[in-house]
Symmetry: C2
Subunit: 445 residues, 2 copies
Amino acid sequence: MTPVSKLAEATGHRIVVVGAGFGGLETVFRLRGTGARITLVDRRNHHLFQPLLYQVATASLATSEIAWPIRYLLRGRKDVTTLLGTVTGIDPVAKHVQLEDGPALPYDTLVLATGAGHAYFGHDEWEPFAPGLKTLEDATTIRRRILTAFERAEGTDDPDERAALLNFVVIGAGPTGVELAGTIAEMARTTLPDDFRNIDTRTARVVLIEAGQRVLANFPEELSSYAQHSLEKLGVEVALGHAVSDCSAEGVVYGDKRLPARTIIWAAGVRASPAAEWLGVAADRAGRLQVNADLTVPGHPDIFAVGDTVSIAAPDGSPVPGIAPAAKQEGRYVADAIKQRLRGKTPAPFRYRHDGSLAQIGKHLAVIDFGRIRLRGALAWWIWGIAHIYFLIGLRNRLAVALNWLWIHTLDQRGARLITQGRAVIGDTAAPTSEIASQRLKSVR
Amino acid sequence: MTPVSKLAEATGHRIVVVGAGFGGLETVFRLRGTGARITLVDRRNHHLFQPLLYQVATASLATSEIAWPIRYLLRGRKDVTTLLGTVTGIDPVAKHVQLEDGPALPYDTLVLATGAGHAYFGHDEWEPFAPGLKTLEDATTIRRRILTAFERAEGTDDPDERAALLNFVVIGAGPTGVELAGTIAEMARTTLPDDFRNIDTRTARVVLIEAGQRVLANFPEELSSYAQHSLEKLGVEVALGHAVSDCSAEGVVYGDKRLPARTIIWAAGVRASPAAEWLGVAADRAGRLQVNADLTVPGHPDIFAVGDTVSIAAPDGSPVPGIAPAAKQEGRYVADAIKQRLRGKTPAPFRYRHDGSLAQIGKHLAVIDFGRIRLRGALAWWIWGIAHIYFLIGLRNRLAVALNWLWIHTLDQRGARLITQGRAVIGDTAAPTSEIASQRLKSVR
């Protein structure tokens, strides 16, 4: 049998992978040795370890500790060309990918791993007041807003304004929302109190608003109620069964309640990349591509799609969750499917295997659902921490993250408490996410 | 004798310190135990270790490794209130400091430690094309531009554009300019080559332009020529005796030469803070306050000024240099002078003691001038590294910086190679420093 590498090399097979998240990168890693000419395109120069992004937003980790230059990760792969570029469209007839600046990229096989962003359910006007958390810039924006709110509370004499500044609202009680709310509460109670003279940061209110009936809805009910109880012990107010009906510079309205708040974080909805629009094919309500059992796009047998931009069912009929391990499994599957095809074979359908779900709530507080085995508390927290350090790429980042966590949990100090971008940005809380530095709250009111 | 603390406490003496750089922070540290009510105001929430800022700009260190939240550094000092705020003026008659947002701060003694920014010698229109390096945001801007230039060179087919993208110009051959030029050359030669497929990063040109006749003009001549020789061995082209006559999106013009370049960094001139303007007193050409021998502002015996915003002569008649140890000495002197005055005494004049000058050029390459003792090469480089780690605040940052340097110098890898802020920012090289992300080179041309 001719090895795959010879076949791909002989035919000059060109593979374009769009997106260097968990799915796209795994595809490229697994295509090693095929001899195909691979091009990996991403809008950013770095791969991001999104599961720990909330720790950048809450000043626990530095940006460089959870991000790696993509081309550095692929430095040893002479068969891979990495390009920084924004895809604007796909021509499936001519078979090329259009970039915003630069030439069209021809492909024989295309892999779309373009992920998802946050969605405001038709209320995009809320975004300036309630930023979401998907990118490093989102994380530094949220970090700046949280820290600036405490700074402004320290500086103001107006008791109403001070109260609004010390109200922190997180919308959406999935893992990201729970992790953010828990960490902000811990920061206000243990990291910050000694730093301020005019305010008691322990009086800060952290309110977690969720439209559904429980937190961590994807976890078993016992773990959800444990998580809720743990959050409440940390001082988080959990408001279930309340949809948010307005976000503004004033604060948030949910149910029949109106809460003045200067810091609102959106962790409620996601919307897939415009991959379906590029191809003019069907998408679900969240914009995700419907794919065949071999992860190809219907009508486009040479286009695969993986990760958060895809909607597909697990063998038990439940939807495959939008988590890193799922994207990686899909990436591995697609790389293997491409190899099979190069050999002239038809790949077996993709079967998702769920290994478990993890969420951190606070120090010594986490929940893990391994299916039959369910863990909570300190043991779950240690497993959560070790697993996340293990999945980080590179010894340097593992050491750096471990060092930071050691500091945070033994000394209650967070090393990355920096307000950056722009000038002093007092009043930035209500500035649009484009973050024009000099914009002030006053001018928005 | 009544202790100072009782005196200050009894009189309710109020001290306002503006600026939390080396000078201001040292003043506050040294005022411990006086019993005075101290307020420290800064435009930013962090103290910055400026001597290593160029390492953030060249992707060697992360922002949080050289910056500390000011209020965290003073968390144990119940006598100090830290405020995030921008000073807009001083009323020396009513004796209060005006902030942009918020109430006026009354003082009995005022300490101005407001530092300096970069200056373009009347050519502020160059700033968008040749950013300077004073803040963390400056450093991430320069880092983004350097990394984006390599990305765009990899993506373009136009040989002229590629050449311009691979030309890196540093203007000014003081310590910052030398350190930047040396590090960019090392990055192009040792860190990046394996990451790119279409370009050879070792062909990048790094040009260091200096109007004077030698690099590191403040060092003895033998160390200057050693530094120049070392830079040239690293691949830096040193152009001495050339004033820059234009910076634009096209490149730089110096002497009779015109060099197309997309990355230009300004390390040539500084201008003091507007402290002299606030007070309506005399300033030198660089905007620095002329101060009395006790570091008070002429005509304002209750206002001290320290650091880069001050012009004062050393005992030998030479100007006190704008370096961290000088600012710290002045800060210590002012704190002691305030204590003396509280005791009713007149402080002796300030005498600057020069301990030495250090500059790093590259790996195993540094120069140190201790006066009689002059060092260069590997030994100087180790002393430079150990001294800088020693002067960092806190064990965590010392460990983190040491860890990064270990990685850089054993594996030739730099951990902080992140392009952040804005979207993919292709073409951002010529965007103004306000960094509106979507702005493109095209639109500037």
